[in-house]
Symmetry: C2
Subunit: 205 residues, 2 copies
DNA sequence: GAGCATTGTCCACTTACTTGACAAAAGAGT
DNA sequence: ACTCTTTTGTCAAGTAAGTGGACAATGCTC
């Protein structure tokens, strides 16, 4: 099921620790200030590291933001993956549960809140939308994989479409919520329900 | 209650990671071989680090073993501390629960098993007994602190005695179990029950 | 007692991180 | 439009951390 927690050599763990320390530092700063007000120097200092090290690890401010958003996305995808796994017997339920989980935790997530609520985060917002190709592709890929793993009868092309559409919807509602998260989740899943049920039953819409 | 999880600068976290990686590597090796069969070089390699780095971080094999045992002890003390916290209203129950928890988890602990069961671990065994002064003192101190925090009426001298005696008993039973862990825990706690109850009631035996 | 492995130490070497400096770009204030 | 300031991104020189190879000393074993 999960990958074996094999022993990690120090050098690898240390690099990972460095990157995470820097990303964590940025997240922490975001709780008190806008992204635009946070300099690369601030992040380096908050991580207890020189600015040069930050630049060596992530090439530029842009790139750093990209990775920051991506890391948060991966953790969301982990949660979604787990939620889907709880409802393998009922695709509609799985969809509703996953969407619900995503929206509610997105509403509470510090980074997302910084992007959605505050004003000084246009640069980060773009990474979810206009500049968001890597993110959407990655998320759609993972979602597609989850769907295929859970319901093998579905054709790959259909799973890919479903993954792409769901990711885009999820991002849209995360960026601009419309009422209660659970209500949105229920509504969206009811909309997709006939499609996915036909899909898992017949392997084609 | 617990210490604030304040932000850790990278350099500190990295050193901690290095030490833990090395200690973890040793624990891992212990699952398949005796302590006497494990060389410092083995540990370094298993941690993905040079032998020199191992020696720089821990001065000698002896010292390394000391820290290895100490780290495991701290984690046991954490668990015991937590168990006591669950039964603040009833000292006798707290004692029984803590002792029970300690003995059962000690029986399953890989490092402890390596020391108690295998033959090639005399050097480690000594760290619990004849060479065990630092360990006993540290454990007794923490236990004393827990007791005082939980039942402030007790006099410091009495708490210190209790802490010391309990630690020594715990180590003895861990090194040489006598029947079922829970039975031992119940027996020992019944033995101390009158003493501790008088203590917490009257503040003196 | 000869041979072999391990411990603990030394030193030269590489790699990671730091420090201070700088041009270029972006804003803020006048 | 123009300066003053700040930040970004890059460089070079310096320090610290980890590597790799060598060594005497100890201890084992055959």
């Amino acid at each position: 099921m999960s990958t074996t927690p094999q022993r990690v050599p120090y050098s690898v763990a240390a690099r990972e620790l460095l990157r995470n320390t820097l990303l964590d530092a940025a997240c922490h700063e975001l709780q008190s200030r806008h992204w635009a007000d946070i300099t690369m120097a601030d992040i380096a200092v908050a991580a207890g590291v020189s600015r040069q090290t930050l630049y060596k690890e992530f090439g530029s401010r842009e790139e750093f933001a990209q990775v920051l958003v991506m890391r948060e996305a991966e953790s969301f995808l982990d949660a979604v993956e787990h939620a889907v796994g709880q409802h393998l017997s009922d695709p509609a339920k799985a969809l509703a549960a996953a969407f619900d989980l995503f929206l509610t935790s997105a509403a509470e997530n510090p980074l997302l809140r910084a992007i959605v609520i505050e004003e000084g985060a246009e640069e980060l917002l773009a990474l979810l939308t206009t500049q968001g190709k890597p993110l959407v592709e990655r998320a759609a890929d993972r979602l597609t994989a989850v769907v295929i793993a859970g319901w093998p009868l579905i054709r790959r092309r259909d799973a890919e479409l479903l993954g792409d559409v769901l990711v885009r919807l999820a991002i849209s509602y995360a960026a601009l919520p419309d009422g209660e998260a659970s209500a949105t989740a229920a509504a969206v899943s009811s909309l997709f329900q006939p499609y996915v049920e036909k899909l898992v039953r017949e392997g084609t819409p």
